[in-house]
Symmetry: D2
Subunit: 357 residues, 4 copies
């Protein structure tokens, strides 16, 4: 069980007004280790009080203290914070995030811009905490006093979580994955209702290529200061469905070492994730929750499992083509985005990586 | 182009009050070759006028002539018709359909009860019209003067249609398939709104095992009076989504003879289906309609293509695990059920199989 | 602030397997004053463990202790409980509820069967706690040692709550009300998805006549052992919309004493409900929550306000025909059904009405 | 029955790329009296081929001839057309529409900018064709050689249609109206799915004030070159619901001359609208279609009645506060916007108002 840090860290949120930015506000407002000291967003919002700049889309209210905070520009000089959580789009993140890292800040990023760089962790505390070992290389190579640590695309995360114990035990050779992704994954305003009411859109721009490389990196290993992706092949089909929150993924998996549904299910039931991640404030009691009912997981009913941080898995069964088929589901905004970044920061805090030498 | 039969055939509908039964009424009410002479349903409905027994769920109205017809029992003695279209559940179909076949009627069935019997065609006129050649064996073996001809499960049909030309040309070795199925596939009242609003149910009872054998049979060949299924392996994931009509299927396909997206796309564009099926009254102008937009097919926008009888296909692209990935979609009630049976009957009429020797 | 009773009361749930029955289980499982000692339902369920008999439809799990309890018949002899919460349909409630009252049990009913009887309270603790004063008359007249206390239809409740302070202050003369009601109001399986996906059904069987008399009774007064309904006229339009939980009602109200939006808003903001109801375990901090945003309340975002027990009101504005227009919304299963009954029982406990003389 | 004009009129569409603009393209592409000669839209689209500039949102395809047409600027000098159909927002319409009228073009407008001017018809051919009599005043006063003729807000139209015969016969004194409006009424991209999936938004910006004056004007009379609104009072509640097309309105109506449900229903059944409008190409066979089922009209099932041009009415019943309650529904994009303008133009053609003296 990690011990709490000696003091609260001062944290900022970049892209604070959007759907993921709002989730950061929600998760950080009462956080035991972090204190929101800065909210930043695009030029359009800068200067306004947060409550006015953000169109709050939850079923709760903006935390009172945050509501009145002014929105700042995404500029390291303006943002008073030791670490920043970034919900920026790749278009903005490409320049803004390194500027913060250069200025000595730890950046916890949701953008794809640096995710696949070998010296940038694509971190999941339960799965690959050792990937943080590339940070010295990152700093040296890039001449940063800060750092960038990323988390994966919201659809890659449930796949990586459910495959982590299976890869460790049986070796994943290849898998097929079809997603059914919630509209909140596209942010706000995001998907027009005219496009998705009573409909399925079998396409999400740039999504499949991400899925087809990110899981490999998350399940890879560190060697000589670089993350080497696991070498399995991935076939992804990404679909948008009229669901508010929760990405559902159907997987058919082939292993190096043949394994049937019974062994796989036993492995999933038993797995608790990396020791280091247990007890972190945002870590769910169990990273994987197995449901035995034939028709679970379901996004509307299971997305909030483990306060949105658990991956729910079910329907583990034999696959006529590969070895097993199963269904996994996770809350795309919590486990798949803001919560993932917060958990990453907690792991770094527990490791002492947020305190300068 | 098939010539119209010399006379109209007298047709009945079994299970006429349900969702598929209503689709039969809609498709047959003004049919050039068939005339509805009998409507039959469960005991509960028998005796009532059709308009009272059926809770009509379309956006049109019950054809006037049909509205007043009395609902009969599903008994060959009561049903005055040469051929019957059956929308019965497997539970009822198991006994009722053979009773009609024994009584000399041609039964066009949507039930799974006899679908997989080697002497029963699982017919798709564009794909396997030659499967009708098993009918003499069926009659002889079963001592029927009528016959049973079936069509496949509503999710198997789009897969079989899109794979038909590819199997012929490249040989399908195995494929993955994830479905996103409309609620009308579960009939009426079917899926409770409390289960599916804003949700995905990653399970449809008994659906995956059907898909994993039916496509093989549809793409099989006839030998010694029996249909021999094509030997490829199939991995199916069946999901229910909040869509009214139209089943979407994501496929990843491996061929015997390697083929890339370009060749596959060319094949799909060119294919017109079996010569024999063209010009049948219910046959769409093209059985496969290729859409080039990156985000099609979509059920709400494409389900009525070809008056609901076309399979719409798109997103043909290279697959990192197998050879190609693609998305297909078809109207589950029209192409996937009632329309399929009607087209089957038309093929039989054109072949002269509806006229007794 | 009411003091806790000296002991826990033994409570049963009638109709425990349906949507409202499940809500009772959820609300009572950890209740400080009540302990579930019996679950009863229809013949079909009786004898099975609850977890098997009930198709649990929430996003939580059946409380462990309850899951294993056997489902009993709705018979006072079988049900060991001092008070029973009834989620029975009117068809069953008509006979079952008086049988329990006759057998000395307090029945907290959601059914319409006895709601409008002048000696039966249609109770809302914040609005009309004094209606409990008719109980002696009820017992005497009916020769019951127990009693029946009812709560209103789920659509009447938000109207009654928002009108309570306005009626007290300005006198309601008449009002229009159009509802947009969630599908959970129809129970489970309830509304077929084929009927409501992307649709509105401008009709709910028997709903408008209930609304047009129940609000009057709730805002009425007790005289000579009978509840005399308030004499205003009500015009109700009931609609079903594709929303999971939360009934939204639009009201246009005419008062005896003219009042504008400002005064009405001030009244709504200030009102805290009857003193007696405050601090009851299930009572929300505020029975009415006023939202100032122009587009609130919204069911998906506001239904869980006050843990589902608050009525949320907004858009108070001048009405060109009557005096003011406004929108109110409440969770139909919690505030509008199970939670209402539980709160009623708590009021009775606080008054000492659950302890026999 | 109006006779066809001697020639086809050359027509342009302003705001051709949006949801209503697309509906104009759909309705005009094969129109017997009109020929699309120009498509205009905002600067951003100008210069592109229509198929590229417009994100086509229907379940059909862009008419081939139109797909290749270049999009022009909204400038009378660029737009070669005798009459223009305007789907412009009020922000653009305020300046663009008079510029066209000044340049001698007939403008058929959907914008609110000039709707309420006494010399501008708010035209419904079945209801107030005589309102065209103000055009000479309009031209003289404004020094226009062209003209502006408008149609009402999409929610006002079903109300005006159903009240037209009732006002003529019984005199409307006041009414209450609650709408449930489809998302397409907000255009494309319009309502974000995150706001409306499984939700109701009880607010549409600026909508209620429009409804509360437009019906009056539509049912008003012409006197001294100006339209005098009917003097009844209107209370409107506007709501957005997760429906694709079709605005449903609940009405409670008080008449000058008391009338009950039976008389009102008889009047609605009998009414055929103004003689002049009958037989126009876009006029539905019946402007009002009465449904007798207790649960109709429903938007998903009834919006396309009369090819989207009929108003469907049902649930006519006694009202406890006023005289009658009823429900009306119309396709907001067809009857409520583009189709209304096209029908208006047809009426003008039939009257010879499109041919210059």
């Amino acid at each position: 069980m990690p011990s709490a840090p000696a003091r609260k860290y001062r944290v900022g949120i970049l892209g604070a007004t959007g759907a993921v930015g709002q989730a950061f506000v929600r998760l950080l407002a009462g956080h035991p280790w972090f204190e929101i000291t800065a909210l930043a967003a695009s030029e359009r919002s800068a200067g306004k009080p947060y409550a006015e700049a953000a169109r709050w889309i939850g079923d709760d209210r903006i935390p009172e203290r945050v509501a009145a905070m002014p929105v700042l520009a995404c500029d390291p000089a303006a943002v008073d914070a030791e670490l920043v959580f970034s919900a920026l789009d790749a278009s903005a993140a490409g320049e803004v995030e390194p500027a913060f890292a250069r200025a000595g800040r730890i950046v916890l990023s949701n953008a794809k811009s640096y995710r696949m760089d070998p010296d940038v962790p694509l971190l999941m505390p339960e799965v690959n905490p050792q990937h943080l070992d590339v940070l010295p290389t990152q700093r040296e190579r890039r001449q940063w006093t800060g750092a960038i640590v990323t988390n994966a695309n919201c659809a890659s995360i449930p796949a990586a979580m459910v495959l982590a114990p299976l890869h460790a035990r049986f070796g994943v050779r290849r898998f097929f994955m079809a997603t059914m992704q919630a509209v909140s994954g596209a942010g706000y305003p995001g998907v027009p209702s005219l496009d998705i009411l009573g409909n399925v859109i079998p396409y999400i721009k740039d999504e499949e290529p991400k899925i087809e490389i990110e899981v490999n990196k998350m399940l890879g290993h560190v060697s000589h200061g670089a993350i080497r992706p696991a070498p399995f092949a991935v076939s992804a089909h990404a679909n948008r469905v009229p669901v508010e929150h929760g990405h559902t993924v159907c997987l058919s998996v082939e292993f190096e070492k043949p394994a049937g549904a019974t062994e796989v299910l036993a492995e999933l039931r038993e797995w608790r994730g990396a020791e280091e991640a247990r007890g972190l404030p945002t870590a769910p009691e169990r990273p994987l929750v197995v449901r035995d009912e034939p028709d679970r997981p379901q996004p509307r009913r299971d997305a909030m499992e483990g306060e949105g941080m658990a991956v729910v898995v079910g329907r583990v069964r034999a696959d006529p083509v590969f070895h097993v088929k199963l269904v996994a589901m996770a809350h795309n905004i919590v486990r798949g985005a803001a919560g993932a970044s917060v958990l990453n920061a907690e792991l770094m805090a527990a490791r002492g990586l947020l305190d300068r030498p």
